[in-house]
C-alpha cells in the first residue's frame, strides 16, 4: 500500500466583536431576537441605501493581523463580489479582493509555524431556515436578515497543515488568539468562528497537489477533528480503490459521523469582483498600525514562552495558564502577592480553573501560604477555598474559626499509624512482599482516620519507619 501525505489549508470566517454592523448602525446583538428585527435600509439592501464602514471592525482586523505577524499594506479597498442568493440582499457581498487589509503572516501551532496568506474584512450574509434537512431541499425557505452585514473577517492559511489533529489545534490556537485580543467571541456553536478546511492527499513525496474538497458546517472542534480525519480516510480509500476525488464542498453529519457531498454549485460561479464604488479606498497609515500595536496585550504564545522561562514552569502548566488571558493575569497576581510560582501555578491550574473559583488573587495567595507553611494540608486547603468562594471570607479567618490545623504531632500520629497497621494486615503483607505502592492504601487510611487532618509528610515518615523496622 502506498504512503499518503495529507495537505490541509484553512479558511476561517470570524464574526468580529463590534457593537454595530459593518456598514450600518444596526446592533450586532441579534442572537435570539425575532427575525428581521435588527435591520435597516442598508443591511436589508433597500434601494438607495449605502454602506458606511465601521472603524472598529477595521481595527479588529488590523489588530488580528498584527497578532498574526502579517504585513499591513498602506493601501486597501473594498470590492463587490457579485452572486445571487436569498441570504445576500444586495445581490453582492462587500468584501476585499486584490488589496486585503493584511497579508503574509504566521501563527505557531504545536511548535510549527503555519503561514497565513491573508486576513481580510467583509460582511456576513443573512441566514436561511429550511423546512427540509441538510440533505433534502424544502419547497420554501425562510430568510432572516438580522445577521446580514455583521463584520466578518476571513483568515486564509497556506496549505501547511498535515493532519486532523493539527487542523483542530490550529482552530484552537486561533480561537485562543481571537478571544485573547478581544477581536471575537469566537464561539463555534454560535457561528462566530466558522472553520472550513480544504483537504487533499497525495502519494508521499509527490510534488503535485491532489484534488481537494472543502468541509463546511463544522460547529465544534470535535466535529472539526472527526470530519477532517473522516475526509482524509475517505479520500485515501477512493484513491486506493482506483477512483478519483471530486472537487466539491462537503458537509458533516454529526449523527452519521460522516461527510457528505453538498449539492454543489455546478454552475461555474463568476463573481465579477470590481472595486466597491460606494466606499472610498482605505489608507492605513503606519501610525494607525503602531497605535493599535501598542494597545495589544502580550500575546498568548509570547506569554506562554515567558512563563516557562521566567517561572520555570512545565510546558503543561504554561499552556494551561495561557488558555485564556485572564488566567495568566490572575496567576501573576498570585505570584505578585508573595507566593512561589510553582505552587501558585499548581493551585491556579488544578484548583481555581477547573472549579471556576472566583476569589481575589491576594486571598488565594494567603491560602497557598498557609498550605506551604504546613499550617494546613492540601485537602484542608481545598475545603477552605470552597468556603472562600461561598462566603467571600478570607482564608486565615476560616482556618482560625474552624480550628483547622494540620495534625503534625508525632505522638498522636504514631497511635493512628499503629492502629492502621494493625487493621490493614494484608496491605502490610503486600508491602513487605515488595509491593511499594501498597503504602498508598495505608496513607489513605491514616488520612481517613484523622478526618483528613494528618500532616501527610509526617505520616509517611512514620509509616515507612514502622514498616522497615521488623
Amino acid at each position: 500500500m502506498a504512503e499518503w501525505e495529507v495537505v490541509i489549508g484553512m479558511e476561517t470566517h470570524v464574526q468580529l466583536r463590534t457593537a454595530s454592523k459593518m456598514f450600518c448602525s444596526c446592533s450586532t446583538d441579534y442572537l435570539g431576537a425575532p427575525p428581521n428585527s435588527y435591520v435597516c435600509p442598508t443591511c436589508l439592501g433597500l434601494p438607495g441605501a449605502l454602506p458606511a464602514p465601521n472603524r472598529v471592525a477595521i481595527e479588529q482586523v488590523l489588530r488580528t493581523a498584527i497578532a498574526l505577524h502579517c504585513e499591513i499594506p498602506r493601501h486597501s479597498k473594498f470590492d463587490r463580489k457579485n452572486y445571487f442568493y436569498p441570504d445576500l440582499p444586495k445581490g453582492y457581498q462587500i468584501s476585499q479582493y486584490d488589496l486585503p487589509l493584511s497579508l503574509n503572516g504566521w501563527i505557531e501551532v504545536g511548535g510549527r509555524r503555519i503561514r497565513i496568506r491573508r486576513a481580510h474584512l467583509e460582511e456576513d450574509t443573512g441566514s436561511l431556515k429550511h423546512a427540509g434537512d441538510a440533505l433534502h431541499s424544502a419547497e420554501e425557505s425562510l430568510v432572516d436578515l438580522n445577521r446580514s452585514g455583521v463584520p466578518l473577517m476571513e483568515i486564509v492559511t497556506e496549505p501547511d497543515l498535515t493532519s486532523a489533529e493539527q487542523a483542530r489545534d490550529y482552530g484552537l490556537e486561533l480561537r485562543r488568539l481571537l478571544r485573547w485580543i478581544g477581536a471575537s467571541e469566537a464561539d463555534m456553536e454560535k457561528g462566530q468562528l466558522r472553520v472550513e478546511p480544504n483537504i487533499s492527499v497525495r502519494p508521499a513525496g509527490s510534488s503535485e497537489l491532489g484534488v481537494k474538497t472543502e468541509l463546511k458546517n463544522l460547529n465544534s472542534f470535535r466535529a472539526l477533528h472527526l470530519a477532517v480525519q473522516f475526509e482524509i480516510d475517505r479520500q485515501i480509500r477512493v484513491l486506493e480503490g482506483g477512483g478519483a476525488v471530486v472537487q466539491e464542498t462537503r458537509g458533516w453529519s454529526e449523527a452519521e459521523r460522516r461527510t457528505f457531498s453538498q449539492r454543489t454549485k455546478e454552475y461555474a460561479e463568476d463573481y465579477r469582483y470590481f472595486p466597491e464604488p460606494d466606499i472610498p479606498p482605505l489608507e492605513v497609515a503606519p501610525e494607525w498600525v503602531d497605535r493599535l500595536r501598542a494597545g495589544l496585550p502580550e500575546l498568548p504564545a509570547d506569554r506562554e514562552a515567558r512563563f516557562r522561562s521566567a517561572y520555570a514552569l512545565s510546558a503543561q502548566d504554561a499552556a494551561a495558564l495561557t488558555g485564556e488571558r485572564e488566567v495568566g493575569e490572575y496567576f501573576e497576581a498570585v505570584v505578585a502577592a508573595g507566593v512561589e510560582a510553582k505552587p501558585a501555578a499548581n493551585w491556579v491550574v488544578q484548583e481555581v480553573v477547573p472549579t471556576g473559583a472566583d476569589v481575589p488573587a491576594e486571598r488565594l495567595a494567603g491560602l497557598i501560604s498557609l498550605v506551604q507553611s504546613g499550617r494546613i494540608n492540601r485537602d484542608q486547603g481545598r475545603e477552605v477555598l470552597a468556603e472562600m468562594r461561598q462566603t467571600g471570607r478570607g482564608p486565615a479567618e476560616i482556618v482560625g474559626e474552624r480550628g483547622l490545623a494540620q495534625l503534625s504531632d508525632e505522638g498522636e500520629l504514631v497511635a493512628v499509624v499503629d492502629r492502621v497497621l494493625a487493621e490493614n494486615a494484608s496491605a502490610v503483607a503486600d508491602f513487605r512482599a515488595g509491593k511499594q505502592q501498597a503504602i498508598g492504601a495505608l496513607l489513605g487510611a491514616v488520612s481517613q482516620a484523622t478526618g483528613r487532618r494528618a500532616n501527610m509528610k509526617v505520616a509517611r515518615e512514620l509509616l515507612e519507619a514502622r514498616l522497615s523496622r521488623s
Binding site: L46, G48, F84, P277
Partner: protein
Amino acid sequence: MSPVELLDQQLADIEAADPRVHAYLRLTPQLARAQALASDRRYGEGEERGPLDGIPMALKDVLSLHGVETTAGSKILTGYRPPYDATAVGRLKDFGAVILGMTNCDEFAMGSSTENSSFFPTRNPWDLERVPGGSSGGSAAAVAAGEAVYALGTDTGGSIRQPAALCGVVGMKPTYGRVSRYGLIAFASSLDQIGPFTRSVADAAEVLQAISGRDDRDATSSDRPVDMLSGLEAGVRGLRVGIPREYTGVEGMEAGVRAVFEAAAAALERAGAELVEVSLPHTDYGLASYYIVAPAECSSNLARFDGIKYGLSDPTAETLLETYLRTRRQGFGAEVRRRVMLGTYALSTGYYDAYYLKAQKVRTLIAQDFATAFENCDAIISPTSPVVAFPLGAKTGDPLAMYLNDVLTLGANLAGLPGISVPCGRSAPPAGHEAKGLPVGLQVLAPQWREDMALRVARGYEEASGVVAEVARVG
C-alpha cells in the same frame, strides 16, 4: 401669496398641463398640503426656514420619499414605499419644501429621452411630439411647464443637464461627492449625483446650497465647506473661459445648435470674459469608457431587485431560480436589460481587463484632460446637447444614436466635475419649428468643488444675454 395659496395655484397648473406633458408619475397632494399648512404657520410666527420654505417642488422618481411609492420609473419597483427619506429629500423637508410628487424618468435613470420609463413617455412642453430629454425628463418638463417651481433630478452622464437644455430650464450637476447619494436609487454609483432644475441660476444655487454637504450615511460625500451663493453675482469680467476644440466638432452636432452656442460665447466675451481654446484630446473615447463603467456598476446595483424583499415578484415561480428569472424578465425594460448584460459581460472572467479595466484607465485619461485644460481656464463652455429635442420614437431603435446625446455631458461625470446647463436661445431642428425653434442649452463646467465658478459664469451669461427660462404654456 401664502404657501397654501401657492400650492393651490400650483396644483391647478399641474391639472391643466400634466394631462398633456405627463411629467408626473404620481402626485402627493396630501403630503404637499400638510407641508404647505405647516409652512403657513411658520411664516405666521416669523419662523420660516429660508427662501425654500413653502415653495412647491418635485422629485425625480429615483429619490426615496418616506411612505410614498418610489419606483425609479420601473415596473420592478411597483408598490415599493421606502421606509426612509433620501438625505437630499430630508434636507429639503427641513428647509420647508412642499413636495408635489414624483416625476417620470427613464427606467433606473437609463436613457436620454424619458421614453424608457416603464409607465409612459413624458412630452417636451415646447413641442408635445418631442422628447423632453432624459433621464430626468419629468423633472425638466415639470419646471419648464410651470408644474413645479423647482425639481430634483439625477445626473449620471448628463441626465440633468441634457433635459434642462432640451426643455429650456436651468439644470445643475454638482461635483461628485457634493450631495449625499443616500436614498438615491443607484444607477452607476461612481457617476451619479443629485442636482436641481430651476428657472434661474440663482434658484439653482439656492437649492444646491440646501442639499449639499457631508452625510455620514454616504461614505463618498465630502465635508468641504459649501458656498454656492456669495460669488454668484461676481460677473465674468477677467475670467478665462475655455472652449474645447473637440466639442464643437462632435458627431451629429446640429448647425443651429452650433450657431446659438457661438452667439452665447460671444455674449460672454462682450461681458468681459476672455475666450480661450482648450483641448480635451480623449473626447472621442469618453462614450466608450462611460458605456462600460456605467453598465458595469448598474449590473451590480440592480442585482438587489430579486423579487424577495420588495417590488415585483412572479407568483407562478416554483423555484428560487424561476423567481429570479421571471421577476427580472417581467420587471426590467429592454434598455435596462441591455445595460445589465453589457455590464455583466464587461466584468466577467476573461473580459474584465479588456473592457472594465481599460475603461477605468481611459477614465483616468479623460480626467487628466480636464485637469490640464483647467490649468489654462477658469471654466469650460460648450453646447449641452449636440441636438435640440427630437421627436418621440426617433432614436428608440438605435441605442448608440441615443447614447450619442450624452457625448458633451458625460465627461463631467467621468471626471467628477460640476456642470450646469442654462438656456441660451433657440434653434430650429432639421425639420419644423422654423419660426421660434426649440431650446438650446449652454453647458458650463468647472474644476472639482468649484460649483461657485460654474454658477458665476452661468449667472454672468444670464445677465449679459438677457436669456431667461420661460414657462411653456401648455394648459
